[in-house]
């Protein structure tokens, strides 16, 4: 049997994992039975927490949690200035432009790929628990409009998490695949994907199981988050005006406000009125009613920003809105009625008596599509054998030419894999190096595009200027990631290429991070053990304290009293430290010292209700009934601890 491959939607707000069960893609729930894993990572005293577990930390202690880290993937300091105004990202102070970002979290530093890796690791764990076996390969979705650096960062996250990402699939394309699976209909479809942090529009042509993407457009920094931020800004102004208090710097209130704003936003999709309800640090309450009309007026500018990419995608596909047969809605933000109204207008749906597709849960549809693609890559099944995705690159690839202008070599909306071959030569006699600057984007000047890589063609045999002929091959693979190779043709010599990514982690850095995550795992385990042992120590000390009131206590000898007192005092001291073994030994010592006391208690209770019960069952009532056979049995305490 082919190796199992899962499908993952690594979202800005929430992440999910799924797989193909027979002929149907399904979502794998987490341990708590919930499908959505919030993309939140927290550093807690018990180690690293991900998902719902981390959400509690986000509210109680915002400095120890991070969310929406996807917004930082593949970006540098200069890219993220706008984000910093709205998101409580705590960046390391010593960052330089061009460097991979580092976030401060619970006294450590994490790069965005490491944060994403922790989310991936949690999803992997959920799947492994579900299957009862290892999961090592995955298809992971990315926004269609993600550039090379953002894609590479996502792949790095997979490696750090110990998960081989066999394919990056564009989110709207995945959604189309999920819808297309049971429809098997030919035609032109548009996928409007408005998620937590990104917006994508893709236009596809479906033909006998082939999903050919014709054009795509979008904004990698436009999503439900922006609606929330706008809402929060207004609320803060409101609070400043009404209650005369400036809360912009207060992380905890901001988190509470964000939570309230999101709840109101969701409520307003089905109700006409909602209330913001936040308790301020001084105990006063901020209560504000918002009507749907007010909300829609407020967020109209954000929603309107999705229209231009839609029109551009149509133009690039050389189609009119009326030619689009079906529109698929993806992403939580498409639940907002005003968003649906905009889609209806842009694609003239109502005018043609049509409705957008919303049958599949907009939060899950991308994951379901990723699971379908995973099945295709694993060798296919009856359900997927006819299916093939032909995806495209969202941005033009170019080289900086003389004067800083961009020479485009692979235009945007080219089907991938795609390649281009360019020839370079020298400008000076005897020149042995040629520098090449690769950029991605639609602007005329290289400085206005996204810099992907600068590299040197080295070791060119010295020749007269203009004579060397260096062939450089640029290849965008099926993941949308660029590869470069070069050859000097006159001498037939392979030129050594040093491709230095302008942004992103080097291979060595990724390797170190893989190791680092193991170290963290060990450290986390050690921390957890200490905490558990400490809890156990507290419980046993409390039980001894309680036992002194039992008639059996009086039957102990002075020596036994001393032994118990010493062991108890010793445990009291070591449990304050972090030496797991010392705490463990001290617990065992106190346990041994109180053994006879436990036996005495058991004798005195020989006729009591516990007679005939197993040790385990008796242990379960420990601490409540002093009649337990051996109240201090460590195994029982551990059971208690894990509840």
């Amino acid at each position: 049997m082919a190796e199992r491959i899962v499908g993952i939607d690594l979202g800005t707000t929430n992440s999910l994992i799924g797989f193909m069960q027979g002929t149907e893609p399904v979502i794998i729930p987490g341990e708590d039975g919930v499908n959505l894993v919030p993309s939140v990572v927290a550093v807690t005293p018990n180690g690293i927490a991900v998902g719902n577990a981390a959400r509690a930390t986000l509210l109680a202690s915002p400095a120890d949690a991070v969310y929406s880290a996807k917004r930082l993937m593949g970006r540098d300091l200069t890219d993220v200035q706008d984000e910093l105004k709205f998101f409580p990202f705590r960046l390391a102070e010593d960052l330089k432009p061009g460097e991979v970002l580092r976030l401060k979290l619970g006294g450590r530093e994490f790069t965005p790929p490491e944060i994403s890796a922790l989310v991936l690791q949690q999803l992997k764990k959920n799947a492994e628990r579900f299957f009862g076996g290892p999961v090592n390969k995955a298809v992971v979705t990315v926004p269609a409009y993600f550039n090379d650096a953002q894609r590479q960062a996502t792949k790095d996250a997979g490696r750090i998490a110990g998960l081989e990402i066999v394919r990056l699939v564009n989110e709207p394309t995945a959604a189309a695949l999920a819808y297309g699976l049971d429809k098997k209909r030919d035609g032109l479809i548009a996928v409007y994907d408005f998620g937590g942090g990104t917006f994508d529009i893709s236009i596809l042509k479906l033909h006998e199981g082939i999903f050919e993407v014709i054009s795509t457009n979008g904004d990698t920094h436009l999503g439900g988050d922006d609606i929330d931020n706008l809402f929060i800004t207004i609320a803060l102004e409101d609070i400043a005006g009404d209650l005369k208090v400036d809360l912009r710097g207060n992380g905890e209130v901001l988190q509470a406000l964000r939570k309230s704003v999101i709840e109101a936003k969701i409520a307003l999709s089905s109700k006409e009125i909602a209330t913001l309800d936040v308790t301020l640090p001084d105990g006063r309450k901020y209560l504000r009613e918002i009507t749907r009309a007010q909300f829609e007026q407020l967020v109209a500018p954000v929603i309107a920003r999705t229209a231009a990419p839609c029109r551009q995608a149509l133009k690039d596909a050389q189609l009119t809105p009326e030619q689009i047969d079906e529109v698929v809605l993806v992403g939580g933000s498409t639940r907002i009625p005003a968003v649906r109204a905009l889609v209806d207008e842009v694609f003239a749906l109502g005018a043609r008596g049509r409705k957008p597709h919303t049958e599949l849960n907009p939060d899950e549809v991308v994951t379901l599509g990723a699971a379908v693609q995973a099945d295709i890559l694993a060798g296919g099944s009856v359900a997927t054998e006819e299916l093939l995705l032909l995806d495209i690159t969202p941005l033009s690839l170019g080289i900086e030419a003389l004067g800083g202008v961009v020479a485009k070599i692979i235009p945007r909306n080219s089907t991938i894999p795609a390649s281009a071959t360019e020839h370079f030569t020298t400008g000076v006699d005897g020149q042995t190096n040629v520098a090449i600057h690769v950029v991605q984007g639609e602007r005329e000047l290289a400085s206005d595009c996204r810099s992907l890589a600068r590299f040197d063609l080295k070791n060119i045999p010295p020749m007269t200027a203009g004579i060397p002929r260096i062939e450089v091959k640029f290849l965008i693979d099926a993941n949308g990631i660029l590869h470069v190779s070069a050859r000097e043709q006159r001498s037939g010599q392979e030129a050594e290429i040093d491709v230095k990514p302008t942004y992103g982690l080097t291979d060595e850095q990724v390797e170190t991070m893989i190791l680092a995550s193991f170290d963290y795992a060990e450290q986390d385990l050690a921390n957890r053990q200490v905490i558990e042992a400490r809890n156990e120590a507290e419980t046993i000390i409390a039980a001894v304290e309680k036992g002194t009131g039992h008639p059996a206590w009086q039957q102990l000898t002075p020596e036994e009293f001393d032994q118990i007192a010493n062991a108890r005092q010793h445990l009291d001291v070591v449990k304050k430290g972090t030496d797991y073994k010392a705490i463990r030994d001290a617990i065992d010592a106190l346990d041994r010292a109180t053994r006879r006391f436990a036996e005495l208690m058991m004798d005195s209770a020989v006729t009591s209700a516990i007679k005939g019960q197993t040790m385990e069952a008796a242990g379960a009532s420990m601490g409540v009934a002093p009649t337990a056979p051996h109240a201090f049995a460590p195994a029982e305490f551990e059971k208690e601890e894990k509840k």
Partner: protein, 211 residues
Amino acid sequence: MFLPTMTDSNYFSVFSLPRKLALDTAALEKTYYAQSRKLHPDRFAAKPVAEQEAALAEASRLNDAYRTLKDPIARTEYLLTLEGVQLDEQSKQATDAAKTAGVAKKQIAPPELLEEVFELNMQLEEMRMNRKLGEDDPQLVKELQAAKANFEGMLAVIQTELEALWAKWDAGVDVDDAGAKDSAKKEMVALLNRRSYVRNLVRDVNEVLDA
């Protein structure tokens, strides 16, 4: 099954097509889909790395070929390049000349368009001025829209002319008439230059109107 060899292959041979310009794009698409089913990297995900890499090279070649051949202009330019016309060189020479002269690169206006281009440039300048001053001149906007329609009409005519030249080229290929081929080639180069000039005019008008 077809297998393009990396050494002796051009985009036409990837589709087992002769080097002709009139093309049945529906048939091309059909072949493209069929070949994609065989060559796409998705079909090789579970195969050894060497096979994956070979598939990647072939699939990208297939995509490059399809992207070029399905588009009438890209197809024509590609054929001219194959036939030894250095389209890039022309543009490079213009760039170099502009750099030496220290001026912005300009395309030479086709003589028959000189008058119209002169007038258009005046109108564009006026329109940019208006925008800067925040003034509104509905008459000027109307004139520019008319000019745009005029140039777009020219593009449509150029397309028809180009298709006639395709026929001339293809006929030359059929009977192996070097003279006919050569003259078709020269006419196509001139027509493509004219086309690119008119297209830039449309772009300029759009820029000003959308501003």
